[in-house]
Amino acid sequence: MALVTVGIADFKVSNNPEDTLVSYSLGSCIGLAVYDPVAGVGGLLHYMLPDSSINQEKAEKNPAMFANRGIPLLFKSCFKLGADKNRMIVKVAGGSRIMGGAGAFDIGKRNYAVLRKIFSKNRVAIAGEDIGGSYNRTLYLQIADGRTSLKIAKKGVVEL
């Protein structure tokens, strides 16, 4: 089994049943796992910020840093490997915040809000999610069967 790390502001797609994609330490960032069980294609995105309009130029080089650029890119890259939009199973984790971290601090909330907006516009349903709180999460996606699991410090691993 190959563990493929998806770092901050990055995404990976795969159709290799040996692969497990993983994003470590999702705080206010969001991990988005998508999977087409028929094509056996999956992808994982680890984005950090809601909207690329803050810096278009940097967004060109780092689209996966932003929800509005990374999400379409993740889906398109899966389609290229034969995935179909209507079969996609979508799971979301992250968007936490520090204690009392409301207002400008709460980037996690904005990260999640943009995702919801994009999904409702494009009629994408979320099959499972674990959002918010003051945890930090690690998200795994197994390409062999599309299983997603979530690890929260000292709480063990649960299926998402």
């Binding site: 330490s25 705080g27 910020l49 810096n55 520090i98 204690m99 980037i107 003051s134 945890y135 410090a153």
Partner: protein, 285 residues
């Protein structure tokens, strides 16, 4: 021995800060340091020397020819880069040991320290704070050094600490204080005193979870380190078992009127800088 006495004994038992690095940093802080003196100090330590040459010859600098003498490397790197390299090398070793109490994944404390140092520098630069860059870098790099000592104590009493966090909404550091009598911030401050760091660094470390308690002349630096820590924890750089269970210190953001988009932009700049730093330091992002 009481628990608190045991913890103090563990602080006493911490090895000293590497003397060669200490002496070199002191020399570097002279407004007009002598390269020859610096080389004299550094060449005693082969590991340090090798590190300096390695960085100089790394792809990052892309020099047309190989630098092979320490003297050349010292001149080439200049004071700021050399200082950061020496500090990171020494601090990396301090954090780099199994940390049962805090770390979920290996390397976590070090990545968090490095990220906080980079974040501190980005904030200082872009918010135009009147602070010395070396002070920012050093205190941010060392802010959680107390975790090295507290690790075993936290591991032993973890369930009690977790209970306070989960059931009473304590920050992790507040729960440490209640269960152990000390928290990692004040222990870090004691270590910094033992290591002879200046008072502003001691204050920034000691109060990075309660910046309002720092003395007035150290307040800005402490607030900056507190904010930088908040932001790296938030983004997920090396957060351990404590997760995001730390209080937000947004005072500085309010004072400087940093709005949502400004903050997002700062995080963007941080991330670009951090990617570069990880490259140089050979750390996974």
């Amino acid at each position: 021995m009481s628990l608190m006495e045991e913890i103090i004994a563990a602080v006493e038992a911490m090895p000293p800060f590497p003397q060669v690095v200490h002496r070199a940093l002191k020399e570097l802080s002279e407004p007009e340091y002598e390269v020859a003196d610096l080389v004299e100090i550094l060449k005693v330590d082969q590991a340090v020397t090798a590190n300096i040459l390695k960085l100089c010859n790394s792809a990052y600098f892309g020099l047309p020819r190989k630098v092979s003498s320490l003297k050349e490397a010292v001149v080439y790197l200049g004071a700021t880069q050399l200082r950061q390299l020496l500090l990171s090398g020494a601090v990396n070793k301090i954090y780099d040991q199994p940390n049962e109490g805090y770390a979920v994944f290996a390397d976590e404390l070090w990545r968090h320290a490095l990220a906080t140092a980079v974040m501190g520098q980005v904030l200082r630069r872009h918010l135009k704070l009147k602070l010395d860059d070396n002070l920012v870098f050093t205190s941010a790099l060392l802010h959680d050094v107390g975790k090295v000592v507290l690790s075993n104590f936290v591991a032993d009493r973890y369930l009690e600490i977790e209970k306070l966090v989960e059931e009473e909404g304590c920050a992790f550091q507040e729960a440490e204080k209640r269960v152990l009598g000390f928290d990692h911030a004040e222990i870090g401050g004691r270590i910094a005193v033992k290591w002879d760091f200046p008072p502003e660094i001691v204050a920034a470390i000691s109060f990075h979870h309660q910046p309002a308690r720092a003395g007035k002349s150290y307040r800005l630096l402490t607030e900056l380190v507190a904010l930088a820590n908040n932001l790296t924890v938030m983004v997920g750089y090396g957060t351990g078992v404590d997760g995001l269970a730390c209080r937000g210190h947004g005072l500085l953001l309010e004072k400087l009127q940093v709005k949502e988009r400004d903050l997002e932009n700062l995080l963007l700049l941080f991330q670009m800088e951090m990617a570069k730093t990880c490259d140089i330091a050979g750390v996974g992002e």
